[in-house]
Amino acid sequence: MGHRPVIAFVLLGFLMAGTRARAADDPPTGEQIYTRLCANCHGATGQGTNETQNHPLIGDKSIGQLTKLIEKTMPEDNVGSCVGDDAASVAAFIHESFYSPTARARNEVARVELARLTVSQYRNAVADLIGHFRQPQGPGVRIGLRGQYTRVEEKERHRVIDRTDPVIDFDFGEGSPAAEAISPEEFSIQWQGSVFAPETGDYEFVVKTKNGMRLWVNDNRTPLIDADVRSGVDPEYRASRFLLGGRTYPLRLEMRKSKNAKEKTAAITLGWKIPGGIQEVIPQRYLSPVHGGETFVVATPFPPDDRSVGYERGTNVSKAWEQATTSAALEIASFVANRVDRLAGTSADAPDRAERIKAFCGRLAEQAFRRPLTHEETALYVTRQFEKPGDLLAAVKRVVVLVMKSAHFLYLDIEGRHDDGFAVASRLSFGLWDSLPDNQLMEAAKAGRLATRDDVRREAERMLADPRARAKLREFLIQWLHAEGSPEISKDSKKFPEFSREIAADLRTSLELALNEIALSQSADLRQLFLADLFFVNGRLAKFYGFELPEGAPFQVVRPPAGSRWPGLVSHPYLMAMLAYSGASSPIHRGVFLYRNVLGRSLRPPPVAVAPLAPELEPHLTTRERVSLQTSPETCQTCHGQINPLGFSLETYDAVGRFRATENDRAIDASGFYVDRVGARHEFASTTALVEYLAQSEEVHQAFTEQLFHHLVKQPVAAFGTGLPAWLQTRLIEQNFHIQKLLVDIMVSTALRSESQTRAPSVSDLRH
């Protein structure tokens, strides 16, 4: 190591030069010290160098421990030259930049990581796996339930009316449902069809009646509620069922009015409470008269997925998850074993029963693994299980548990390098549906028709029409608006005495209707999320927000009161009320939402945690003035100078999202501005100017695209090549900001993975 002193001499020279160049009271930064004293042996980023054969500088010592270590041992050729504050600041630099586990996590390069199914993917895949062997679910137009009314006379039953009832909310009193055809004394009614579940969760069904009643939901054999025999006077029945969102479930309701002298009247209401919602009569838009097959829904609870990177993904496993997959596998196994004859298309006394069941087990594994089985696989997952001791059903259970515990079912893209049509089919179906490929995809894969971008585009376009694709898109838009989990909105009852839980629930419905209207329309134009005047109101909302509608009016878009406007979704009263305190609007929450979610910007931390100034303390100020006052210090302005002016542009909406021209008898100032990433300043005189800016902002389009990408693919966009965001951007513009076409393009650019990973989209792709 004869050359070392020379290096030290040179370094010393640097050190002196550096010191002279700086002000005397300005100590060297940790980075500067590192560059001078350490980088030569340890490498510029602590990676080590070939020459010195140093190991990478990584570990889990604390800054304090590193400081002591440096003081005692470093630099090797001049121990003692880096001590005290110098050692501490270089230790802090090393720790923060590349040494600590947190720093290493920060520096990791994006790649496509092996991922297991997310909880939602798992549940949907199981539902479709079992569904593959059962009667398909008919979609049906959602216009209500089929009602069949039966006259009962002298024990003779005659079906006299067959019609569609939009909702089930009847009070016949002592009369008849149809005086000309049915005697009021004794009759029965059966409603059947399907119920659509908008999101995943527990649905509580509530039936109110004093007559005999039974209700079946997603189980055509065992009633969810059985009150056919009346005992007691309880007029209300409740029971819950866990349902997956975006699917329809068979439903049947029977009521019976008897001749019993004490049962003079007849009335019935079918209501529900959806996850996060309030109790209501099931609205027409969730009911269809088509009675389809059941859907198997796994009841085993799973630990929620990791969302620490902003979207759900399955790149880690935990013990709780592993245990849940075991419990669920057992649950599925007993479900399948209990009805294996029907699923396998055989019967208990069929001579070829064993063969058929074995064949069914093979098809189940093939469906679950999303590809044909090899001979060895058939031997392991099927044949071997039938050779073990025990009866036929024990063998079926073993196959199901094993298949459901297999990595081929639980993980996506397990095939690694071999990138065939089956892998593409899986990426498409999990990307757009969070579920298994359907028959058409599997057929296309088998026939080699999933090899080109055109193939992928064709299938993706077909798949968009499926309710599962719509459910996934809806889920995304709700997340984009930060409204997932239906946050409960409660307001100051003194300031807003008329704001009720019902209003909050109606607002939620109103938001969903507007989302549907935009995302599922012909043009599906992203810009309309900002521009469209689509505030749906019913009678209750109309009264609260000053529209003219009769009290019981259903949801519709009507002309807003003079002078007011709620453009797009960012000014929708649900959002405005959510992004507000219970008594006052919050320009900061609104600004942060626009800045972060909509514009995709990141924010630096506030230097101090501050509780908001209470309006009561500064009663003479407007909200705008109060927020400006509180965030006026220089240290706050770095961020609030960006956040507040965005939020101020929504000051025309109060804490419940009502349009206002004044606050505290002073005119509302809704002017604001935004400084974009390249430093250009955009001024807004009003909310309208704000939304017009957002609608055409490239930053908004990019943020939307990136978030949608992550929601579909569940892998970092950066892992698919640097050219991808720009290509998607170009396509978005070419397709007139069509949201659904954007989904297709995301699939086109990711489903053929080996191709997209090795090269950025070419010019010919751009022309597509």
Binding site: T102, P304, I414
Partner: protein, 438 residues
């Protein structure tokens, strides 16, 4: 003799061959009193959003202290209670105070960077270290005489259905949060279920492992770790299947009230049910370490049953000058304290299985919180209220410390369980080692 026959029959019913018998009968939960080595247990109870200091902290220091209103339910246990004021969570770094409050509470180490954004500060992810209860669990599980079926159990009440920094307190390791189980039915089936499914599972375990081994060879090197980790859990399941035959629980399998739901207004019932299950699991020696998490950091419970309609977190932001809010917050913490007292009472009423005194004598309950005070979001004066008994802990006193780092208290907890650690979490906060609480 009769005892042996019935036990053998029982094990046969579990579907286990006689080969497993000698092993099972050596398990501590199946053997009788072991007076030379008394059991010691630790229960950590979490409630969120800070406390109202004047209604919480005793004015006095020492053994002659009065309990303030929020702590009044502990009056019957005053001589077995220790209140520690002036213990601070000094851990800084990424995340807001609520996130670090819960994420560093039992880990004593910084959060990883992430993009979970709180109300202020930088975004953060999960904790970069494991929690003290898991450290103690690993220690106890490493020794045959203290090994139990689960090692630790994580109970919850009304924990929101989402995994983020605010909802997780217990960590198996860096980036490895453990979800508390807040569904009593799920906890029940974890404790007592699966007896019949064991056979199916055992018969396919080798095949599951073969499946994973094959897949491990196919995936890239960078992803192999995930599959390896998965395979570890499968091996652990194999172990647990063998030992869980000790579901010879030593008491009748409890019956749960049907129809309990994950609903705000059911919180009192859920709490009782979970506490009862917790006590049962300790009686059966399923575990000696447990955590009990009420809601989450920033918890939004609406305690309508005690006349508080507004949600807990929103209330906790109200200034000190809002006397009505402070009164309601005092009542909220009083309610949490009542649940703590119920747990203590259940343990006090249960004789120590195979030992001396009551179970409470051999159990230390630690009630804590992610914040000192809700409206200031301070991490100073983190509430730590200890009830029960532990070696080296002098109960029946109120102590005040000069904002010592809470890592030192975590060390004391480990020592009380016989695990003589001298550092845990961020070493820089471990200073002079465990706090002396004798």
């Amino acid at each position: 003799m009769a005892l042996h026959v019935s036990r053998r029959t029982f094990l046969k019913d579990l579907g286990l061959g006689s080969a497993a018998l000698p092993f099972l009968l050596n398990l501590s939960s199946l053997s009788h009193a072991n007076p030379g080595n008394p059991k010691q247990r630790l229960i950590i109870v979490f409630s969120p959003n800070g406390v109202v200091p004047p209604a919480f902290w005793p004015d006095e220091v020492g053994s002659d202290f009065k309990l303030k209103r929020s702590l009044a339910p502990l009056e019957p246990f005053r001589s077995r209670t220790m209140i520690l004021n002036g213990v601070a969570d000094k851990v800084r770094g990424d995340g807001d105070n609520h996130m670090r409050g819960i994420g560093c509470l039992l880990t004593g180490i910084e959060l990883f960077p992430g993009n979970i954004q709180g109300g202020s500060h930088t975004p953060a992810g999960w904790s970069s270290g494991h929690s003290i209860d898991q450290e103690i669990k690993n220690f106890l599980q490493s020794q045959p005489e203290s090994r139990t079926r689960f090692g630790s159990l994580e109970y919850g009440v009304m924990v929101p259905e989402r995994a983020d920094t605010w909802t997780r307190m217990v960590y198996a390791g860096p980036n490895k949060p453990i979800s508390p189980i807040d569904d009593p039915y799920q906890m029940f089936s974890k404790l007592y279920g699966r007896v019949k499914d064991r056979e199916s599972l055992q018969s396919i375990l080798d095949d599951v492992q073969e499946d994973l081994r094959k897949v491990e060879q196919v995936v890239g090197a960078a992803d192999r770790r995930l599959i390896e980790e998965h395979a570890t859990f499968v091996r652990e399941m194999e172990q647990e299947l063998k030992t869980s035959a000790s579901a010879d629980v030593g008491h009748p399998v409890p019956e749960l009230e049907p129809g309990l739901k994950h609903e705000n207004d059911q919180m009192p019932k859920l709490t009782r049910t979970q506490i009862d299950l917790l006590v049962q699991s300790l009686v059966a020696d399923f575990t000696r370490v447990a955590t009990f998490q009420f809601t989450n950091s920033v918890g939004q419970a609406k305690m309508r049953w005690i006349g508080v309609d507004q949600n807990h977190h929103e209330l906790s932001h109200e200034p000190d000058s809002n006397e009505e809010a402070q009164e309601q917050l005092t009542k909220i913490n009083l309610w949490f304290c009542e649940q703590l007292a119920y747990l203590a009472q259940r343990l006090a009423d249960t004789p120590e299985p195979g030992g001396e005194g009551s179970m409470l004598d051999h159990t230390l309950i630690v009630w804590t919180n992610e914040l000192g005070k809700g409206n200031s979001h301070t991490l100073d004066d983190i509430p730590f209220v200890l009830v029960g008994g532990a070696p080296g802990f002098k109960m029946g006193q109120s102590l005040k410390f000069p904002q010592v780092p809470h890592n030192r208290l975590l060390l004391s907890l480990a020592h009380s369980m016989g695990h003589h650690l001298d550092r845990f979490g961020n070493v820089d906060y471990c200073g002079d080692g465990p706090l002396s609480l004798g």
